[in-house]
């Protein structure tokens, strides 16, 4: 009795294979390769997202008790003064992050992109290096720099402008936000500068030469050549900085000694979420805050993309 021979076929690389084995692996292999990601994403992404959405409709008291309340958490949130404080603080921080940090980053990038600038590599490393440190480390470092009476910031400002040595940056509600913004500037200006620098280096030099021939001065070249050339990166940096600012947590948490600071001056939305969920134990309300944050950030990002033209592909 003759045994059935496996059917032979030739693949794209000209290798002969048995057809059943080839067909099987041809069909299954892609799923096999994406399955680790899918399993992990479903377990640690989709499930928690779904669970948190469900939780946002419950009032939870500790880990075991949950009562369905429909939209009550959302209604409560809208009249919650602490949530309002958190949103306001976060928005203020985001505003200063965008309107101080990005121009500074761009300025530094322009400086380092100048052909007459000496020691660019060293300066690039110096400006970027704060970002190599974690937020926790930076938080500890600046909480020491900002201490009253003996801190370097106060000593310097006392010498420079005569401000009182016992100025309490982290214990005065009016000074907490400036301290956080300053710290954040130190940490992230260099990071965003790298993006701008890469974008600047990609702008065609011929355009500058043509502009010079046409009689455009440096300022007009910046508006007419540089800015349009770096627009896609600028939009990206703008959106990412805004999202990052709305996720602010570690820096104030460390600098303000695991608290929201005096008069909740350092309370951010993520910090409020953490306090509500893991300190007060109300996971349902924390989920509501989390979903509101996610929707808020999404809307702001879409708005920014629309305003900057990226939504219509204008940033490409």
């Amino acid at each position: 009795m003759a045994t059935k021979q496996p059917e032979l076929t030739v693949d794209m690389m000209g290798v002969r294979r048995t057809s059943r084995w080839f067909v099987l692996q041809y069909r299954a292999a892609p799923y096999l390769f994406v399955s680790p990601f899918l399993i992990l994403f479903a377990t640690f992404g989709v499930y928690p997202i779904g669970k948190s959405l469900m939780l946002s409709f419950y009032v939870t008291n500790g880990p075991k008790s949950a009562v369905f309340v429909g939209l009550e958490n959302f209604r409560f949130m809208l009249s919650d003064p602490d949530f309002h404080t958190a949103v306001w603080n976060t928005a203020v921080f985001a505003f200063w992050s965008v309107f101080l940090q990005l121009p500074l980053s761009l300025g530094l990038a322009l400086l380092l992109n100048s052909i007459w600038m000496k020691g660019r590599e060293l300066l690039r490393l110096a400006f970027f290096s704060p970002n190599l440190l974690g937020q926790v480390f930076v938080g500890v470092l600046f909480s020491v720099l900002f201490i009253p009476q003996y801190g370097l910031v106060n000593r310097f400002l006392h010498f420079l402008a005569g401000i009182p040595l016992d100025t309490k940056w982290l214990a005065n509600p009016d000074l907490v936000m400036p301290a956080l913004v300053l710290t954040s500037l130190w940490m992230y200006v260099g990071f965003n500068m790298i993006y701008f620098l890469a974008a600047l280096q990609a702008v065609d030099r011929d355009l500058y030469e043509a502009a010079t021939v046409d009689g455009a001065n440096a300022w007009y070249q910046f508006w007419a050549v540089t800015l349009p050339g770096i627009k896609p990166v600028a939009v990206f940096v703008l959106v990412m900085s805004t999202i990052g600012s709305f996720q602010l947590f570690e820096l104030p948490w460390i600098m303000l000694n695991n608290s929201a600071g005096p008069d909740q001056a350092g309370l951010t939305v993520v910090m409020y979420l953490y306090q509500t969920g893991f300190v007060a134990g109300d996971l349902g309300y924390a989920a509501t805050v989390g979903w509101s944050l996610a929707l808020g950030v999404l809307m702001i990002s879409l708005f920014q993309m629309r305003v900057t033209g990226a939504w219509k592909g204008g940033a490409d």
């Binding site: 008291n61 309340v69 009253p148 214990a171 608290s259």
Partner: protein, 441 residues
Amino acid sequence: MRFPYGSAALSMLVLSVLSGVWLALNPVKKPEATLVMWTFAKTHYDAYKQALPAFEKKHPGVKVDLQLVSWQAVTSRLQAAFLSDLDVPDLVEVEISAAGSFFRGPLKDVGFRDLTDRIKESGLYDRMVQARFAPYTSRGRIFGLPHDVHPVMIAYRRDLFEQLGIDPNTIKTWDDFIRVGRKVTIPGKRYMLELPDSESSRFEPLLYQRGGGLFDPEGNCTMDNEIAVETMLFYVPLVAGPNRIASDLGGGQIFTKAVEDGYFLCMIAPDWRSKTIEVDVPKMKGKMALMPLPAVSPGGRRTSTWGGTMIGITRHCKNPDLAWELALHLYLNKEDLAQRFRDTNILPPLKEAWDHPAYNEPRPYWSNQPLGKMYAELAPHVPFQYTSPFVTTAKGKLSEALVACVQYYRSYGERGFEEFVRKRLKQSADEVRRLMRRNPY
């Protein structure tokens, strides 16, 4: 046979299969402990490590896995463990300000076991300072055994007091204290007392001293009652305005420098903080001393309380009797407690333990004062400190009210101050009550 997606993909596949198989064949070994216990204080951890061999010897075959968990992390880790029912310890030490948040929801759903009957039946309720059960009690049920009493005294620079001609024995009331403080305070250079103007950690002991608190025994928010108003009216002028005698710079190295420089003459010092001062400001050995807290009025209470820890047995614990025995072993052994007092300065709540000679030993750092005896004499007068699941929120709201009152006082002084204090405290209390009303249980 060639792999159709290239050698790189094949390498990744082989690597993932091999590592998966290796992990499956070599699972992480869980410590084979009979009881798992978490503590957040390094000093407790070191002391318990020494005490555990005796317990394990007494119970052959029993192994206790003691874990040191950062105090910042212990609350969130425990909440997460309760939620997931994974890696829940059998016993946990919880800091007083976090304890209340674990008592949320119906009693049957509290993550800790109800220890009321065990405590009452064993006579511990009478043998320990009763006030210290209050912070770990919810709706009349006790969920934790107190680790400490934490009576409060005033630590002061004895050498500077002598130089300035201050006799601590003449300071019996806060009025006496303020009178002296106004004489010796030099704004920006020297203050009579270390007190913060931006958070309520030291406001609370002064509130308790007057018999007030954030909550009453039934869990009602009381942070805007008459005692709270009186305390705020007393506290704010100490830290703000032209006659202030108190300031605050922060903890750690700056505190060390401030004490060494004589920036502060006095500090609120519960027993645990006396050890912190010893460790953080070693150069002041022999130059420091302690005195009772000044009374609100002549003959009044000369102490208060600040801080605390409980040990609780979780519902997850499969052997609660053994866990209870371990808790008693760690909290009641007189010799261990005496040694622990020598190491940490923390007075245990077990009254009969205070007879041990360790509590009478003179302490060179504190100008040879018998630290234990002094704290023990005050311990029976420590005020009750009631809690609620909303205690962390209430503390935050009290801090907010304090900051607002300080800002008002700086701007307007005494003009309309009392009315503002009442209004601001009520606003904070109402926010807490609003959250409490949301509670459907």
